[in-house]
Structure formats: C-alpha cells, structure tokens
C-alpha cells in the first residue's frame, strides 16, 4: 500500500503541489483528475523521487519510507513511474528498452516471465521487438514506456496520462489491461485526462485543483457527481 502525507512540490516561488495526502491499496486503481497545470504530474514525480517532496512529507510503500531515496532505489523498492512524454530510449530496440526495465535487482530473476506478460498485454510489441524505438509511432512508443515500467515488477505502478496518443480502440484495451494488472495484486495510481474511461475502471479518485487535493471519493460517485461531470467529463452525452 502506498501512503502519501504532507507532500508539497515547489518550483522557485511557485508551489505546484500543496500538502497533498493520498493512499493507494494493493489491487486498487486510483485516478487523479485535474486541469492541466493543477499539479498532477508534479505529484507523481515527487512520489517517484524525481522532485523533492518538501519538508515533512511522508511517502511510504508497504511501510517503507521512500522520501530521501534516489529514483532508482524507489524502483527497487517496488514503485515504477511511466512518465509524461514516455522517456524511452529512442536509439535502442523495443527488446532492449524492456530489458532495461528489468535492470532493477528485484526484477532480474523474473525477467522472462514479465516480458511474456508485457507482450501479452501489447501484442504489437511482440511483432516489433527488434525495431528501433524512435522509429515507432507515438502510440507504440507509449506501449514501450508502459511495458518497460512493468518489467521492473512493481508493487505500485504510477502512470502519467497513459492513454495520450492511443487510438480509441487501444486506449480501451489499455484500460482493460490496467484491470488485469490490478488482478495481479499491483496498485495503480494514474493521472488521466480521459476521465470517463479512467473512472469506469478505477476504484477511487482524487480531484486536484491549483496544487491542492479538493475532493476524493469512490469512482462511481465521482462519475455521477455534477461538479465532476462539468469539470472533467465535458458535455452530457
């Protein structure tokens, strides 16, 4: 279980995340909804150790304190982030990108198994194992980024806008895949603009506005909340 308390992210004078608290249980999908610039990505980055989380912050994964650990140590502790903009190794093949995902000590023994799971999740990658990643389409690169994170055998998977650039069919498949990842006992924390599809599979959600968490609830309740509909689901359909 992931527990975050008192987390703030500051860029110079600008406070991007202000005293955030949230939790994600194993086998739970939690979605963070909010406008662009609300602080969602900063929050994920701070949890993953890519931004200092401010003084007094507590980030614990199964009661292990993550604050102060280097990002690679956080991966080793069982938390992986799929960053915005993918961050894949463009000059390496799909196979090599996935292999690097399994570099964490925790993931080495089970590398072959995890690769099978990733390729079952994204059959397109199985067809393209030897392709140089930068020559793939945007959506395919997104699959590589998600696959690479899964290769680190995480207990907790953080995803920053995973459906960005995916076709309607693929993004539906992605959300179904997240459901299967949850069944494997992995906790999932995602930031997503596709509020409709993400609330449909999530267990719970948080709303973030100007860096502050301003609401939380069961996904089904949020999906039917008029304020949430207005802000995140667009016009009635």
């Amino acid at each position: 279980m992931l527990e975050v308390k008192g987390l703030s992210v500051q860029y110079g004078k600008h406070r991007a995340v202000d005293d955030a608290a949230l939790s994600v249980a194993t086998s739970e999908i939690v979605v963070i909804l909010g406008a662009n610039g609300a602080g969602k990505s900063s929050l994920l980055k701070a949890v993953a150790g890519l931004q200092p989380p401010g003084t007094g912050a507590r980030v614990a994964l199964d009661d292990r304190e993550l604050v102060g650990l280097q990002p690679h140590q956080i991966v080793e502790a069982g938390l992986a982030l799929v960053p915005e903009g993918r961050g894949i190794f463009g000059e390496l093949t799909v196979r090599e990108n996935l292999l690097l995902g399994a570099f964490a000590r925790r993931a080495r023994a089970d590398e072959a198994n995890n690769r099978h799971r990733v390729l079952a999740l994204f059959p397109r990658l199985a067809e393209r194992l030897d392709q140089t990643a930068r020559t793939m389409s945007g959506g395919e690169q997104q699959m590589v980024a998600i696959g690479r994170a899964l290769m680190s055998a995480p207990k907790m998977l953080l995803l920053d806008e995973p459906s960005l650039g995916l076709s309607p069919l693929l993004s539906s498949e992605l959300f179904r895949a997240l459901g299967r990842i949850r069944q494997d006992g992995i906790g999932v924390l995602l930031v997503e603009q596709n509020a409709r599809k993400s609330l449909a599979i999530a267990d719970r959600g948080y709303l973030i506005e100007n860096g502050r968490i301003v609401g939380a609830g069961r996904a089904a309740e949020l999906a039917s909340d008029p304020a949430v509909q207005r802000a995140y689901l667009g016009g009635a359909r």
């Binding site: 406008a35 662009n36 389409s137 945007g138 650039g165 076709s167 309607p168 069919l169 599809k197």
Partner: protein, 243 residues
C-alpha cells in the same frame, strides 16, 4: 473548389515495413480534414512526407500547384505549409517570444524588428500563452508547450496547417477552447489537416475524414459516415466511441 493539396500514389518504406502504401487523397482550400487510424497506421509518416521531414520512396505531392515531394522542409514551409509535432520541438534556450520570432523571421514572412515582436506577442495571445512570453519552453507545462508549438507554426503564415494530435491531453474545458481556436484559424482561411484521436473534436471540427490502416486508406467521407464504417470500427474505434 480547387485542390490545395493533391497526393498521388505516395509510398514510404522503413526497412521491411511499408508505412505508407500507395496513398492518394486531396484537400481543398478551406477544408478541415481529419486523418484518423490506429497507432502505427502511418498517419504521422504522412505528415512527415508532406512537410519534408521525410522523403517519399515514390508518389507525388502537389501543393498550390508545386510538386513538393522530396523537397526540403524549409522550402515547403516557405510555400505555405506549417506543422506541429506530436512531441513538441521548441528551441529550448530561447524564450517563447523568441521561438515565435524565429518562425516570423525565417519563414515566408521574413518579419523582423518591432513589428515582428508585436506579431509574435499577438500569436502567443492567440494560443493562450500571453502570460508566458518571457518564459523558457522548459518551464511550461506539456499543454502550454503544445500551444507554443502552434504559435510557431502560425508564425510561418501557413495556407495549410498540419496538426499532429494537437488536441491530445486537453481537459474538457481546454478542449472546447482548442476546438474554438482551430475553428477560428479555419475561419480566417487556413486549410487544416489534422491527425487526432479525440472523437469529440473530429465530430465537431472536420468537414471530411480520411482513415488509414497499415499504410492504406480504408475509408473517407463525412465524419458520421466513416465513424459508422464497419472496418473503421473494427480497426480503430473498437466497441466504444467515447475516446
């Protein structure tokens, strides 16, 4: 209506992969045309072939009557075609204003000095970046970087604008603004070819859609027609159409 862009038999291969396969279509002046298709179907490659980022293996592209297939990107840009990139490509060490100024100075406008500065600021205002003129691109959020990408493209004073998933990642409010912005560009006479997965945007913006799969055109027509097409649903939309 005369064809502003006429593409015939366009093909491009990457090693063993035929990314674009004998593609033919045309875009009339004033149209907003959507280019749809599954991930990896060749949409971005088409934009790269049109804008001169990549050279086609075969086929012709006529833009405003000029044969441009295989011509370098800067010549195509000066003929009046501009584009945005899916993963933004700002000049990282220049301010937002200077990024736009670069387009004004070295594009077909050849604008410089105070007038260009005024124009650059107006373009930044137009895309909603008026508050970030002096900011470096790296200080912007992802979405604001995409706004900058559009301002830079507009600085080239294009007749044809190619947008590669420019609306992706916007929340409903921002999406409405974005759609309004594109409609406004169209209203001022810019022809638009957009690659997009956001169906709400496709439905409300596009006069016509082209759908690709594995490098080939599998459907074209009104948005309502192509989105109801059985093969498009099978290859692209799946059982849900609410992306």
């Amino acid at each position: 209506m005369s064809a502003l862009l006429e593409v015939t038999n366009l093909s491009r291969r990457f090693g063993g992969l035929l990314a674009v396969d004998a593609l033919g279509f045309s875009v009339a002046a004033g149209e907003i045309v959507g280019l749809l298709g599954p991930n990896g179907s060749g949409k971005t490659t088409v934009l790269n072939l049109l804008s001169g980022v990549l050279r086609p293996d075969s086929g012709t592209v006529a833009f405003r009557g000029h044969a441009i297939a295989g011509k370098p990107a800067h010549r195509i840009a000066r003929l009046g075609m501009a584009r945005t990139f899916q993963l933004v490509r700002p000049l990282a060490s220049l301010s937002c204003r200077d990024n736009v100024l670069t387009g004004l100075a070295f594009g077909r406008r050849n604008a410089w000095g105070t007038a260009a500065r005024t124009d650059a600021d107006a373009l930044l205002d137009r895309v909603g970046l008026g508050r970030a003129r002096e900011a470096l691109p790296g200080e912007l959020t992802y979405i604001d970087q995409k706004r900058l990408e559009l301002a830079r493209a507009l600085a080239l004073d294009p007749e044809l604008l190619l947008l590669d998933e420019w609306l992706a990642g916007l929340n409903p409010t921002e999406l409405e603004e974005g759609i309004g912005l594109i409609r406004g560009l169209s209203g001022q006479g810019i022809t638009i070819l957009l690659v997009e997965h956001v169906m709400d945007a496709i439905r409300s913006l596009c006069h016509r859609c082209l759908v690709m799969n594995t490098g080939r055109l599998i459907a074209s027509g009104l948005p309502t027609e192509v989105l109801a097409d059985a093969e498009v649903i099978r290859a692209y939309l799946g059982d849900e159409t609410d992306a």
